[in-house]
């Protein structure tokens, strides 16, 4: 029996090669993915801008720990400041807006690897916020209690008074949206997002830092960006 020329051509294992190539590229991207993604930022932006904002992730991911996000009612909402203070406070939203306003443009870093650059925040510096409560001389820790139970976290008083740290009520020119912690959240760009407590409703001054929500789950208390969290 003679074979016609086209039958001599051996089948090739393209299926296995495709599988191995795609798997190999994917696994190796764990090393080169993020640097490449950053270097392509200029190319990505026009595409992102052209798509409907509701559907396109804008760089933010909304992490929550409770089954629903807290609702903000400007009429009933109060921010309580208590603990080691000379004068405990319960500030309304209007009271808060009357305090000296600070603004900053900073990058937000999440411990899981994503960042949002150039976020425009407006809010109150902790120095100005706490002044009215007359903190005691031995108060060294701020505990932030979120309306999203059971989320809590802490900063030292020293950390809270770093230059670009604030209690923010505006993001990118608009009142803080619900998913970003309306009406107020902590902003400390030097630390990962889990220290930037959302839906803050109570700030307690004390001497001891209890473990925050994620710290109880193994995360570092001082979540400086660049550390491992």
């Amino acid at each position: 029996m003679t074979l016609e020329p086209q039958h001599i051509d051996e089948p090739r294992a393209y299926g296995r090669r495709t599988f191995l190539a795609v798997t190999g590229v994917g696994l190796s991207s764990l090393v080169w993915g993020q640097p490449l993604w950053r270097s392509l930022a200029g190319l990505r932006q026009p595409i992102v801008n052209a798509l409907p904002p509701a559907l396109v992730p804008n760089g933010w991911r909304i992490y929550t720990v409770a089954s629903s996000m807290p609702h903000f009612d400007p009429l009933t909402w109060r921010l309580r400041i208590d603990g080691l203070v000379g004068r405990p406070l319960a500030l309304s939203y209007a009271d808060l807006l009357r305090l000296p306003r600070a603004e900053q443009v900073t990058t937000f870093h999440c411990v899981t690897g994503w960042s949002v650059k150039n976020v425009h925040w407006a809010g109150v510096r902790f120095r100005d916020l706490l002044a009215g409560a007359s903190p005691a001389g031995d108060a060294s820790v701020l505990t932030f209690t979120s309306a999203e139970r059971p989320y809590v976290d802490t900063l030292t008083l020293q950390q809270a008074q770093l230059p670009e740290v604030m209690l923010a009520y505006e993001m990118d020119g608009k009142p803080l949206r619900r998913e970003h912690g309306a009406p107020v959240r902590v902003v400390i760009p030097e630390m990962y997002g889990y220290k930037n407590v959302k839906w803050v409703e109570q700030i307690t001054l004390g001497r001891v830092a209890e473990l925050g929500y994620w710290e109880q789950r193994g995360y570092s208390t001082d979540a400086w960006v660049g550390s491992n969290g």
Partner: protein, 212 residues
């Protein structure tokens, strides 16, 4: 042969694998999008529950795939893997848009299967690293979430194409019947997969010759 003559294209094991994969994919996609797209995260809420559904679906998927391999027709699956792996001259020309006769799987289906299998591995690895990274910072890599995202985007495009061919495009949508009931019309197979029918006839003839 008449229009209504049916022949078996996919075995029960193959169909089980397909539907385990498809069901898990859509549950993972739906829960994943709610976790990922801010507007959906806000309107749906219940993040801890959705995260649990997402993670446990992935675990159930892996167990179901393993069980299908363990309890199903393994020899049949090995033969299918060989079929999917090998691209002959007709397949290579078909991919270059030449009208060439195709076997039980056309070259596009073979490529799609290879990519889907690789994606399954990559989704599982990156998903596992995300889960592990929440528990141990040694396993937290900046690119893990990016890989998981890119796989999602590309999968949406591939699955959209797959659904179009399976549900809408007139020439190919009959194949949906094959993956649900197992059988397709003989005359349809003759038009779309003639080399499969020829190979089937050859192996039947060989079997008959063996019996004599």
């Amino acid at each position: 042969m008449g229009d209504r003559v049916m022949i078996e294209r996919f075995s029960l094991t193959e169909r089980t694998l397909h539907w385990v994969h498809a069901t898990a994919f859509f549950i993972l996609l739906a829960t994943g999008l709610i976790l990922y797209v801010p507007s959906l995260s806000e309107s749906v809420g219940r993040r801890p529950l959705l995260k649990d559904i997402h993670v446990y679906t992935a675990v159930a998927w892996a167990i179901a795939i393993a069980l299908t391999f363990a309890l199903g027709d393994r020899a049949g699956l090995r033969a299918t893997a060989r079929e999917l792996n090998l691209f002959d001259e007709d397949d290579r020309l078909w991919l270059r848009r030449h009208a060439r006769p195709q076997g039980r799987f056309n070259a596009g289906q073979k490529l799609n299967t290879a990519v889907a299998a690789a994606f399954a591995v990559l989704f599982a690895v990156s998903g596992f690293l995300l889960w592990l990274g929440e528990r141990d910072s040694t396993f937290r890599f900046a690119s893990t979430i990016l890989l998981h995202d890119v796989l999602t985007y590309v999968s949406i495009v591939l699955v959209a194409g797959h659904l179009y061919l399976a549900l809408i495009y007139p020439a190919t949508r009959h194949s949906l019947r094959g993956i649900t009931t197992g059988s397709v019309r003989y005359e349809w197979a003759q038009r779309h997969h003639p080399k499969w029918l020829a190979a089937r006839a050859d192996s039947a003839a060989a079997r008959d010759a063996g019996k004599q």
